[in-house]
């Protein structure tokens, strides 16, 4: 068993428990023991774009200090951690790159965090789960571990913004990423291409301008459904919420929009690796994935 530090983030412990449990249980099947980061705090949610913003780097850097402390306590553990949430990944990775490039900023942050016993020196690696699966586990090895191939299941992979932009954090092609498609193929399912896979879902307008989200949801899911898909997979709890929970509003705009289940890619892994129903938590979805799955003989 390989040991790996895992940063869940707030939403995976809340509305997106399905993402959390499917991540942890499928990693166990791949012989990776994930250990939740001790005393983690908010990732910072959105990366502040101001060039001299230091205050908004404090939360992410505190997490990077915790990673160093946890790694130091465990024999053979690297200064790295994995997160499956696309937003946490993006914010933590960009803060890390920012302080690595700007020692003056890092010094101010370390001074500010003077009660911490560990200093941050830009020496932690931030990894997204997809990147870890491709580069460390390997999609070939993942395919070997699959006990229930998801035969016939047509899946649209939706990346949204945070996995591929900006290019400094992208671990695949910015305009046409294929990493999720390759993963879906390893699980025995059929990935389908659709043009809007990296187009923004509208993100936090879910709070104040839900009408924008309804329109975006209609366009994105409509485009995916043109390819006769069974479901959409995502890696971001913000995208998942918008595309899943706003489908009723989207149907008000377009009555022809088909009910489309939105799953985390880890839930398909948990199915293909037979982690059990408790690793899926389909009760947390708005559009029930079961009809689409049973139509393919998978539920």
């Amino acid at each position: 068993m390989t040991k790996l530090i895992y940063y869940p983030g707030c939403t995976l412990k809340n509305a997106a428990r399905n993402f959390d449990v499917s991540t942890v249980s499928s990693m166990a099947k791949l012989d990776v023991e994930v250990e939740e980061l001790d005393r983690w705090n908010c990732c910072g949610t959105v990366h502040a774009l101001g060039s001299e913003n230091i205050m908004n780097r404090v939360a992410p850097v505190t997490n990077l200090i915790r990673v160093k402390e946890t790694a130091a306590k465990t024999e053979g553990m690297a200064n790295e951690f994995m997160t499956s949430c696309a937003m946490c990944y993006n914010t933590l990775k960009r803060a890390n790159i920012d302080v690595q490039n700007r020692p003056d900023k890092l010094e101010v942050i370390n001074d500010f965090l003077n009660l911490e016993t560990t200093k941050y020196e830009g020496d932690v690696e931030v990894r997204h789960l997809l990147e870890y699966l491709r580069d460390r586990v390997g999609f070939d090895r993942l395919a070997e571990k699959v006990t229930k191939p998801l035969k016939g299941l047509r899946v649209a992979c939706y990346y949204g913004c945070l996995l591929v932009r900006p290019k400094e954090v992208a671990f695949d092609d910015v305009e046409n990423p294929m990493i999720m498609e390759n993963l879906i193929e390893a699980l025995g399912a059929t990935p389908v291409n659709f043009p809007l896979k990296t187009e923004c879902c509208g993100a936090y307008h879910a709070v104040g301008k839900p009408e924008i989200i309804a329109d975006r949801t209609d366009k994105i899911l409509g485009s995916a459904n043109d390819e006769n898909i069974d479901l959409v997979v995502v890696s971001c709890p913000m995208c998942a919420y918008n595309l899943d929970f706003r489908q009723d509003d989207a149907k008000q705009l377009n009555p022809d929009l088909k009910n489309t289940p939105v799953l985390y890619f880890t839930q398909l892994m948990a199915m293909a690796l037979e982690c059990g129903d408790e690793a899926l938590r389909f009760d947390l979805h708005h559009i029930d994935p079961l009809p689409a799955l049973s139509a393919r003989g998978l539920a």
Partner: protein
């Protein structure tokens, strides 16, 4: 857009505003040659009153009043499609964020979201990732 008389003076108030936006955003506004690629790919363009390439042009000219009153600066969600496609490597989203920050921190606390105006049911339904990011972007 309504007719506006512009007096461009690099040492006057519009020049100070241009310098401030360039400083906060870390971008060179004059690098833009108006190819329009940012607006062509913007997934939020349909909900904006001023397109992203127009924002850059108006920022070059120091049109502070019009920029800070625009709907666009509150519509952009920093998806960074414009940044990744700009042939001049201008980070348009950073420019828009600097305008947003200027509006939010002008001493009036002109917040664009009041979380208490959202019904308790809707609030309970929203995931924390949505509420926190909206507050980070739309309140001071």
């Amino acid at each position: 857009m309504s007719t506006t008389t512009l007096r461009i003076n690099p040492t006057g108030p519009s020049g100070t505003f241009v310098a401030k936006i360039e400083k906060i955003s870390g971008q060179k506004l004059l690098a833009c040659y108006q190819c329009g690629k940012c607006s062509a790919g913007c997934p939020m363009a349909a909900y904006m009153d001023i397109l992203p390439n127009q924002i850059i042009r108006m920022a070059q000219l120091g049109m502070q009043k019009q920029l800070l009153a625009s709907r666009t600066i509150w519509t952009c969600v920093s998806c960074l499609t414009c940044n990744s496609r700009c042939p001049k490597d201008i980070r348009i989203a950073e420019v828009i964020e600097s305008l947003r920050e200027t509006a939010l921190r002008n001493g009036l606390r002109d917040d664009r979201l009041n979380i208490w105006e959202i019904s308790p049911e809707a609030r309970a339904d929203l995931p924390p990732i949505a509420t926190i990011s909206a507050m980070r972007k739309l309140t001071s």
